[in-house]
């Protein structure tokens, strides 16, 4: 299986590039710092110059300075040369009002329906690990299509998440809409092994593209549930030199791409 040691880019760079490619010009994108911000900025600099970035701190259309990436979505570096700043609640209400096309998400665990856990490992009443919690994640996942970018590990791709912090398709089918979430839902799951989508009927996760050099067997072996992988699944183009150069320009100290 390819690793950071055997390919000319890191897993984080691969996540950023694949995520960027999943974005379309003109979209309004809720991004966190780290890989999501790199992905959205990379998209702006390649095929999506009219893409707008939102930060949950209350930032609309920022222009992040290369080499001065923000430590969170709530500090002044996020606000730098933005088009507009709003209270937090109002930028989140853009999700509810339907203005946001895509939200970026991560999580400690994900299941076959795209449900995400960033709150508890183990029993929530007596957790092995108390994680930071939802932040804006629950709101984003409830009200927009989401792209999940994370490392592909069996302990993260689990049969059932310990806790649903941010709803995916819940138990599949129309269960999400029935729970009161008629809009949005998981759109893509981008990992260092594959890019996955969801079956339109069952809402189960399925592989759409393999990352370069990765086999279907390797994807399945690193997934804690049965994953639909068609025999003829295509492989993605590796990150181009241009894409990697842009990422290096944005994050020269490799804070988020190491």
């Amino acid at each position: 299986m390819p690793t950071d040691a055997t390919r000319p880019y890191t897993a984080s760079e691969l996540l950023a590039v694949s995520s960027a490619r999943a974005l379309k010009d003109g979209q309004i994108v809720f991004a966190g710092v780290g890989v999501p911000l790199l992905a959205a900025t990379l998209a702006q600099r390649t095929h999506a110059p009219g893409l707008t970035i939102l930060f949950e701190g209350g930032v609309i259309g920022p222009f992040v300075q290369p080499g001065a990436l923000p430590p969170s979505t709530n500090e002044q570096r996020c606000a730098r040369r933005a088009n507009m700043l709003t209270p937090i609640t109002d930028v989140l209400l853009l999700l509810q009002r339907g203005y946001v096309d895509v939200g970026f998400m991560g999580g400690a665990q994900i299941d076959r329906y795209g449900n995400l856990n960033s709150s508890f490992i183990g029993d929530p009443d007596a957790p092995k690990t108390r994680l930071p919690g939802t932040g804006g994640g629950n709101d984003i996942a409830s009200l927009a299509e989401i792209i999940v970018a994370m490392k592909h590990e069996k302990r993260r791709f689990v049969e059932k998440v310990d806790f649903v912090t941010s709803p995916g398709y819940l138990s599949g089918g129309d269960s999400r809409a029935r729970a009161g979430l008629p809009a949005g839902g998981p759109y893509k799951v981008v990992t260092d092994l594959a890019v996955m989508g969801f079956d339109p009927e069952t809402k189960r996760m399925r592989v759409e593209t393999l990352q370069p050099g990765v086999t279907p067997e390797q994807v399945q072996a690193n997934t804690g549930f049965d994953l639909a992988i068609a025999r003829e699944t295509p492989s993605a183009e590796p990150p181009s030199a241009d894409e990697l150069a842009i990422l290096a320009d944005l994050d020269p100290e490799r804070l988020y791409t190491a």
């Binding site: 606000a79 937090i88 609640t89 629950n138 649903v164 009161g180």
Partner: protein, 318 residues
Amino acid sequence: MAPTPYLELRERTKARDRSLRDKRMSLEEAAALIADGEHVALGGCTASRTPFAMIWALVRAGRRDLKVSRSIVSTEGDILYASGVSRHIMTSWFSQGIVWGVSKVMRAHVESGRATLEEWSHMAMGLRYRAGAMGAPFMPMRAMLGSGVLGRVEGAKPMECPFTGEPLLLVPALNPDVALIHVQRCDAYGNAQIDGLSFMDVDIAMAANRVIMTTERIVSNDQIRRAPDQTKIGFFTVDAVVEAPFGCAPHECYGVYEPFFPHMDAYAAATGKDPEKGVAEYLDRFYHEPKDWNGYLERIGVGDMLDAARRGRTIHAD
């Protein structure tokens, strides 16, 4: 009329002196306005405009068992848990920050059952404050439904929309006993102008039953009145004004200073290695030993202050 929550809220508001008057006082005097067990909402978000000067004063005053709420909690949550000022924090996210990862101090307190971390979605926190600010008993929203987060909180009510039949969640108003808010400048009456990101501060100030405002500098009422459309928090909501330069250190104050990154790195390293000992030593060194707030800043160090301030000014340097 039997007292309802709404009439009680009005009575509390009516009993306050809401006139245009000088409210300047010291950190210590302001800390005395807060009683053990009260609900204290913090302005700012993560490492931005955290009202650290007042938190410092509360630790020094030995305040106990405050219920604390904030949009997103960073290292001030560690301080509140470890000092005993609070054993119950309500927020959407608790971490020193993405680059430093999950708080080991929070984990130690919550996983051992010594403290509670009550988790709402970010928008739910915002709408709860907003309902409180509006004098409304709840706000309708369309997130949290279907999630585990909803299952673990008390007081949110799913409803069928009486207009459209759609499923909705009603989240109840939050009217904190006290709000602690730090701003770039305000006048002696409490008229506050906030530059840059305002987070949930405007709603929190309006929702709270008392507001303690710390500020980088106090300006004249004349200056405020030259640009009244810049006043984000009105004097009538404010009960105390404390001038506290660098009052968010080691966090940031937009346009004045960025986070004190070396200090934050050192804190993360110390508490990462041994959360209990790391934070206890930090409390001694920065909270208990200095003789006053300037002493706290001296321990943080002039070099770090100047470095943070230089970076803070760059937002204006384009």
